[in-house]
């Protein structure tokens, strides 16, 4: 058959089975092109891939590092805090903005009319977010090793990276929730409304005054940071500012994991409900 012909069988209409290998390829292809398009979108890739490392080096290493006279505890804490900051953006904006825009511009409808495997759309976006999180972590670790004066084992780096990548799913859920409700134009504003308070009130950049510290419990960023700090046996900025020298004391691992899983499931469930209603 010539490559440019379009031969169709004369058999009765019947449903073609999709071999498992081809189905798997469809999921992979969706994830591959979702990642490629995100990497090629300068408005998305530049801020979320470069900014966390640049700000970490400028503020976390040079500014706060010199203010703390090279305190190794603060160096580790700033690394974990910026790791959380780095994985929040791709999840929230990647889902929030892309879902809202694709919904509004008809791409989502087209994909639903085409035989795209039902879960491929969400899985592709989740994998894209985790790829971005992995890239952010690799560049942060490279910067931390080069200028951050970190004394952390390779195993600990790997564990923190895995936790941050998995933790980014909580921010995917929140972004997805916003993306299913906001229009393409308003989505960035709504994502920022959630992202900025979560980042600042999560105690990532500076210790909060004691009276404001309960607000931290509302931010998923707080719990993800706590998990990373727990692995590295380091106190948070709040704890350091109140004189703690040992590992993070409050916000145990089980509580942190439960909150992050809960946020992921709650916002994911709300978003999927809305997503199905749109369908």
């Amino acid at each position: 058959m010539n490559a440019s012909t379009f031969a169709l069988g004369r058999e009765l209409p019947r449903i073609s089975a999709m071999p498992i290998a081809r189905l798997f390829r469809a999921y992979l292809t969706e994830a591959k092109y979702e990642s490629i398009r995100a990497l090629r979108a300068p408005a998305f890739a530049i801020p979320f891939l470069l900014l966390p490392t640049v700000i970490y080096v400028l503020i976390g290493v040079f500014l706060i590092g010199s203010m703390s006279h090279g305190d190794p505890k603060i160096a580790v804490t700033m690394f974990v805090n910026f790791a959380t900051f780095g994985v929040m953006g791709p999840g929230m904006f990647g889902f929030g903005m892309f879902v809202a825009t694709e919904r509004e511009q008809g791409l989502l409808n087209l994909k639903r009319a085409l035989p795209m495997p039902p879960k491929a759309y969400l899985l592709a976006k989740m994998l894209m977010t985790m790829l971005f999180a992995a890239i952010v972590m690799v560049t942060l670790i490279a910067a931390a090793l080069a200028v951050g004066h970190l004394r952390v084992s390779a195993g600990q780096f790997l564990l923190v990276t895995l936790i941050e990548m998995l933790g980014s799913l909580a921010f995917c859920s929140i972004g997805f929730f916003i993306g299913t409700r906001a229009s393409g134009k308003s989505a960035p504003a709504f994502v920022n409304l959630a992202y900025l308070p979560m980042m600042h009130l999560g105690g990532l950049f500076y210790p909060l005054p004691k009276s404001a510290q309960p607000i931290e419990f509302l931010s998923p960023a707080f719990y993800l940071t706590k998990l990373g700090l727990h692995i590295l046996h380091t106190p948070s900025l709040d704890e350091i500012s109140s004189g703690a020298t040992g590992p993070s004391s409050h916000g145990g691992v089980v509580v942190c994991v439960a909150v992050l899983v809960g946020v992921t499931l709650l916002f994911g469930w709300l978003a999927i409900r809305r997503f199905q209603r749109l369908a």
Binding site: T5, G9, L12, L107, A279
Partner: protein, 297 residues
């Protein structure tokens, strides 16, 4: 549903708030035909297609695709779609867009083969966002058939195409039908439906007001057009009983008549030097206008 019927709406009604989009619509798409769905804006064409694609559910009646629910992804693997308003990812290159959609199907074409059929090989490495409107439509067309679907839904496929690109798309559509594919086409270009369609259905206010072959649709309009070069005056011709209207331009006299044969006889009798006589049946456009005017408020 017979085995020759690939898609069917049976007694389908659909409302959006107070607006009745479809009102008891029955519609069938048969195997191997190019079926054109026509109608004025708001007639319910897009809603009908959306129901057949499983994008919406009917309030009443049933929508079937290959005898099954259009909500099943297995059913939609037999279908290709080109929508009027769907912005593909601007960052992906043309061959990547086709590769992505081809991956959804069990036995797709290669991106190269799909680009050959749409004459878009030269665009293969161009980002979709940098293409012109017409080039984007050609890529969307390639995406629609790259999975070798048995049934293609094309919503206004030639909007924004230049004459050459449009004729190439028409040729590809004919090729697809000749090779056994079925096509549902919605278009505002009645000339397109006239040239391509095996069967036409006209919707108005959510109901089907006529359906049949293009010739059957034309026959719904009994009047015919007569043109000739003659020295007879318009005033004289207008007095004849079967003449509905008469005009003159630099090409000659143009008459619209209910009974063309009797008018031609009168013309030949009244002017023995009459030349360039031509009698035409009403076109699809005229039939469409007449049909939809009858249902206008």
């Amino acid at each position: 549903m017979t085995q020759d019927c690939l898609a069917e709406l049976s007694g389908v009604s659909k409302r959006f708030g107070k607006v009745v989009a479809l009102d008891g619509l029955d519609l069938q798409v048969r195997r191997g035909e190019l079926f054109a769905l026509l109608g004025p804006n708001g007639a319910g064409k897009t809603t009908a297609i959306s129901l057949l694609l499983g994008l919406q559910r009917p309030d009443a009646g049933t929508a079937c695709l290959f005898g099954q629910s259009p909500l099943l992804v297995e059913t939609r693997r037999q279908v290709g779609v080109m929508m009027q308003e769907a912005a593909l990812a601007p960052e992906l290159r043309v061959h990547e867009q086709i590769d992505l959609v081809a991956s959804y199907y069990p036995n797709p074409m290669t991106p190269v083969a799909a680009m050959e059929m749409t004459h878009t090989e030269a665009l293969a490495d161009r980002p979709y966002g940098k293409l012109s409107g017409g080039q984007k439509r050609q890529v969307q067309f390639a995406i629609a058939f790259c999975g070798r679907p048995k049934l293609l839904f094309l919503d206004e496929p030639t909007v924004g195409l230049d004459v050459q690109a449009r004729e190439m798309m028409w040729a590809t559509l004919r090729q697809l039908v000749n090779e056994g594919s079925s096509i549902v086409l919605t278009t505002h270009y009645l000339e397109e439906a006239e040239v391509l369609a095996d069967r036409v259905a006209v919707l108005a206010k959510g109901r089907m007001i006529a359906s049949g072959s293009v010739n059957e649709m034309r026959a719904l309009v009994v009047r015919k057009h007569i043109s000739c070069s003659t020295s007879l005056s318009i005033e004289q011709v207008r007095t004849w009983p079967d003449v509905e209207s008469a005009t003159r331009d630099h090409q000659g006299l143009h008459i619209t008549a209910g009974n063309a044969e009797s008018v031609v006889r009168e013309l030949l009798a009244a002017d023995e030097n009459l030349e360039d006589l031509e009698v035409r049946r009403a076109g699809l456009a005229e039939a469409f206008t007449e049909l939809t005017q009858e249902t206008a408020p």
